[in-house]
């Protein structure tokens, strides 16, 4: 029988605030065997990263272990001296950190940084170390490693940096590699490549991996053993597939039912059809009313509420000689129709131009050529201030970052009131009634009115942002990565809310996302973008069942956990 490589028993970690200890990990236990991949899954604040950092004694700030034991390779390392710990770190336990952007020193060549870790662990020196660095980078899957080693981090893409960090983590051939959300900052296709590579590499080397992730699908796909954490406690652990198929703890159950990649396809498409039916009907009625009443803007009730025709945006980037510029085409000849009362999703990786399209539809950015028609009116031709204002009333955005999309100095009440005030709608009394109604629609108690954004969680702020967008009774809401920054559970809640609101109010959504997995739950039509161009345009079922383009297939394959079949 093999001995466990890592055994954590009843671990307690706390952060000191003033004179009191605030517990972050409460009695966590887990076991990792040599060569095994074990995943810790949990939402933000669950204590998963804290547990991992306690193992290598890299707890941030005032964090410290208050109880329990960590046994690594038959040796208790819970209370080692600093020097002894440093000897284990790197050589015995490697770490691949979360953010590839901030974890490489921008002033030092990548090769030198890996060399440093080789020399620090006394593995190789001088010329031999240089040679080893190239081997390690090659091993991590970097093409042309010899010349890459001489480059600086800014010359690397995000994926390449993560490969360099993997090379660094594995430089000393540790027995255990801790990978803390190693790919959550990367695009899905890159994420898959990196994880595939990490998997084969660690299998070849016989390195055990402790994978920290918030993504249940990813964990289930990559790990043998799963540890689910919630509020600092382990709520369930066991073989990955067994937990996935037959979760016992209510939290695991909730997590699995919320994971977009694992949701049952039949159920979601049926739900979606119901939403669409009700929404399209309401949208038609509302549009007829709005168009008739709006004397300034007018328009007509067309089947497509928004129609983009040959949208192109060219940015001028400074470059070449002083005063010269290079043309960069962010959006290249994009055309689509958003049918009234439905959702069109624009899917693409970072840099695909999807957000630029959103900004042009919102008239926050002027297209270089092409046009956007809204209710049959060309919005690029609206240069009259009053008409512009009338247009604003009918199209509203919800942005990605719940921490930046609300003015931190405005109370929730003022935030939601701002659009009403700007458009001079209603008296103070009427506005308050409207705000109460809006908060009710997004399922927030009216008690949050007097609170400030900093007092709310990410999901709650996003609800407030939605309430603000709905304050002017718009026909179209542009959701720019509106659920991307949220935990799975919160994400699922917001998606449900968006669906409910659509069915009730007949809204049309333009849903911008990098995550194909959530698309199925909310969209009817899909636009796949790559490098500013539309590569595929079809209905959701077509895209998921019969993708025509190679790139779409790649995106679909990259959905973590997408391949796992769940009996439902």
């Amino acid at each position: 029988m093999t001995e466990p490589l890592l055994q954590i028993t009843d671990l307690q970690v706390a952060f000191r605030a003033g004179k009191t200890d605030i517990p972050a990990v409460r009695g966590a236990s887990l076991t990792v065997y040599p060569g095994q991949t074990v995943a810790i899954v949990g939402e933000s604040g669950s204590g998963k990263s804290t547990t991992a950092h306690a193992i290598i004694d890299l707890l941030p700030g005032t964090g410290h272990v208050t109880g329990g034991s960590i046994v690594f390779d038959g040796r208790d390392i819970t209370h080692l001296k600093r020097r002894e710990r440093e000897a284990i770190r790197g050589s015995q336990i490697g770490l691949v950190p979360q953010d590839p952007m901030s974890n490489l020193n921008p002033l030092v060549r990548v090769g030198s940084q890996i060399k440093e870790s080789l020399e620090a662990n006394g593995i190789a020196k001088g010329k031999a170390a240089d040679k080893r660095v190239v081997e390690l980078l090659e091993e991590a899957g970097l093409p042309d490693a010899a010349s890459r080693a001489r480059q600086f981090p800014h010359e690397y893409s995000g994926g390449m940096r993560q490969r360099a960090l993997i090379a660094m983590g594995l430089a000393a051939r540790p027995k255990l590699l801790i990978a803390d959300e190693p790919t959550s900052a990367l695009d899905v296709t890159v994420q898959k490549q990196i994880l595939d590579h990490l998997e084969t590499l660690t299998a070849d080397l016989g390195v055990a991996v402790l994978l920290i992730t918030h993504d249940l699908g990813l964990a289930a796909e990559r790990a043998d053993h799963l540890v689910v954490m919630y509020k600092g406690q382990v709520v369930e652990s066991g073989p990955a597939l067994q937990i996935l198929k037959n979760p016992q703890h209510p939290y695991s159950k909730r997590l699995i039912s919320s994971a977009p990649s694992l949701a049952s396809q039949r159920l979601t498409s049926q739900l979606r059809a119901e939403v669409r039916e009700s929404s399209v009907k309401t949208a038609g009625e509302i549009a007829a009313e709005v168009v008739a009443e709006d004397e300034l803007l007018g328009g007509e009730v067309t089947t497509a509420v928004v129609e983009a025709k040959n949208l192109t945006k060219v940015f001028k980037l400074p470059g070449g000689a002083p005063g010269r510029s290079i043309d960069f085409t962010a959006v290249d000849d994009v055309s689509f129709r958003l049918r009234r009362g439905t959702t069109t999703a624009i899917v693409g990786e970072s840099g695909s131009g999807k957000s630029t399209v959103a900004r042009m539809v919102l008239d926050l950015l002027e297209p270089t050529s092409g046009s956007v028609e809204f209710d049959g009116i060309d919005i690029t031709s609206l240069r009259d201030k009053k008409q512009q204002l009338a247009f604003r009333r009918r199209v509203q955005p919800v942005f990605q970052n719940p921490y930046a999309s609300l003015d931190p100095m405005y109370s929730i009440y003022r935030s939601i009131e701002e659009p009403l005030r700007t458009h001079k709608i209603g008296s103070d009394k009427e506005r308050e009634a409207k705000i109460r109604d809006l908060l009710d629609k997004v399922s927030l108690p009216s008690a949050v009115m007097r609170r400030f954004p900093s007092e709310l969680s990410g999901g709650q702020r996003q609800r407030v942002a939605i309430a603000r967008a709905l304050a002017l009774d718009p026909e179209v809401v542009i959701l720019d990565e509106a659920v991307s920054a949220l935990d799975v559970l919160v994400q699922a809640q917001i998606l449900t809310l968006l669906n409910d609101l659509q069915a009730e109010l007949g809204l049309s959504y333009l849903f911008i996302t990098h995550d194909l997995a959530v698309v199925r739950q909310i969209a009817d039509d899909v636009l796949v973008m790559q490098n500013g161009k539309v590569v595929e345009q079809a209905t959701v079922t077509e895209v998921f069942d019969r993708p025509r383009e190679e790139y779409t297939r790649k995106l679909l394959d990259a959905i973590p956990g997408g391949s796992i079949e769940l009996a439902s």
Binding site: V235, E236, P239, F399, S405, L406, E418, R463, V490
Partner: protein, 325 residues
């Protein structure tokens, strides 16, 4: 999965649901009263002993500035030449200076000039700097280039050197300024060389704020650029500006004292710490009767220290990132 039998320590474990109660996702904690950013900052400030030390000192200093008569009934301009350079005694705690003025009385009355110059300069600099910085940062492009380059020109001239040149040339055209004229001249001259620092701070803060999503959200609502600047951008950029203003207050008080010491700041008729320190120069050289120098210099040091401490405390409260752990 070829091998489905779990290894020891990896058997299925389910925590008892009673020990790990599930919370509804997205509930709002309504137990505590609502708190905005300023209220939060005040709470932080309140718990900082540095703030209380500086606050007590400053309250005392302001009482001295406003009601000097409460502390002494001796006229600071009444000379008793017979008691020139006499040491501290009962009724004349700080002794007499060379002219036979009561030092205690002069220290008390001198506070007004120093504090007034400091506060007025700070207000001027903040007003001009915030406005120019916010406009430069928000509108960008040519506006930014022009404002920033002009600021750079002034920034390149050292505060004291610039003030000396400007004040001495001002003396040629406006020599007899009186009390308030004298104060105003020093304030304006210091402000001329002080504003670029504030412009830079405000511009930086505005650049950061204007890229945030709530600015775009406000634009999508239909808010004009100007209302965006006043309603969202400037209020959110205030924190670093306030911090810089409080810290620089002490610097301006020192600058006034330096200029007066050099004989070109406040006119000699104005009772001020800088002038008294200048008058005590000869005692420094002779090395005797140092009380003449010690008391005004000490008062100056304590005042500057109080403002600096307040600035530190305010920074900790408004900008927790800059706080040393």
């Amino acid at each position: 999965m070829p091998d489905m039998t779990p290894l020891p320590g990896q058997t299925i474990y389910v925590a008892p649901a009673a020990d790990t109660p599930l919370e509804e996702t997205g509930t709002v904690d309504t137990s505590a009263p609502p708190e905005g950013q300023w209220k939060e900052a005040w709470k932080q400030l309140r718990s900082n002993w540095i703030f209380w030390v500086s606050a007590v000192l400053l309250v005392f200093i302001f009482i001295v500035v406003l009601f000097p008569g409460l502390f002494t009934d001796i006229n600071p301009r009444q000379a008793q030449l017979s008691r020139s350079l006499e040491g501290p005694s009962a009724g004349h705690w700080f002794g007499f200076d060379r002219q036979g003025y009561d030092v205690f009385s002069r220290v008390i009355y001198g506070a007004r000039a120093s504090v007034t110059v400091g506060i007025l300069t700070m207000l001027f600099v903040t007003f001009v700097g915030l406005l120019t910085g916010a406009i430069a940062g928000f509108y960008g492009k040519w506006t930014d280039t022009i404002i920033s380059r002009i600021a750079d020109v002034f920034f390149a001239i050292p505060l004291i050197l610039g003030a000396i040149v400007l004040l001495s040339s001002l003396n040629n055209v406006w020599s007899n300024r009186g009390y308030w004229g004298g104060v105003l001249a020093v304030v304006l001259v210091l402000a001329v060389f002080g504003w670029p620092q504030m412009t830079r701070i405000a511009r930086g803060a505005v650049l950061e704020i204007k890229s945030l999503e709530f600015i775009d959200a406000a634009r999508a609502i239909g808010a004009t650029r100007r209302s965006n600047l006043w309603r969202h951008v400037i209020p959110n950029s205030l924190a670093p500006v306030i911090v810089t203003a409080t810290v620089s207050l002490g610097v301006y008080i020192v600058a006034e004292a330096t200029l007066s010491f050099l004989g070109i700041g406040l006119p000699p008729s104005v009772v001020s710490w800088g002038n008294d320190i200048a008058a005590a120069q000869s005692q420094v050289r002779s090395g005797s009767n140092l009380h003449v120098l010690f008391f005004p210099a000490g008062a100056l040091a304590i005042t500057v220290l109080s403002f600096m401490l307040l600035g530190d405390a305010v920074r900790d409260a408004l900008d927790p990132k800059a706080k040393k752990s």
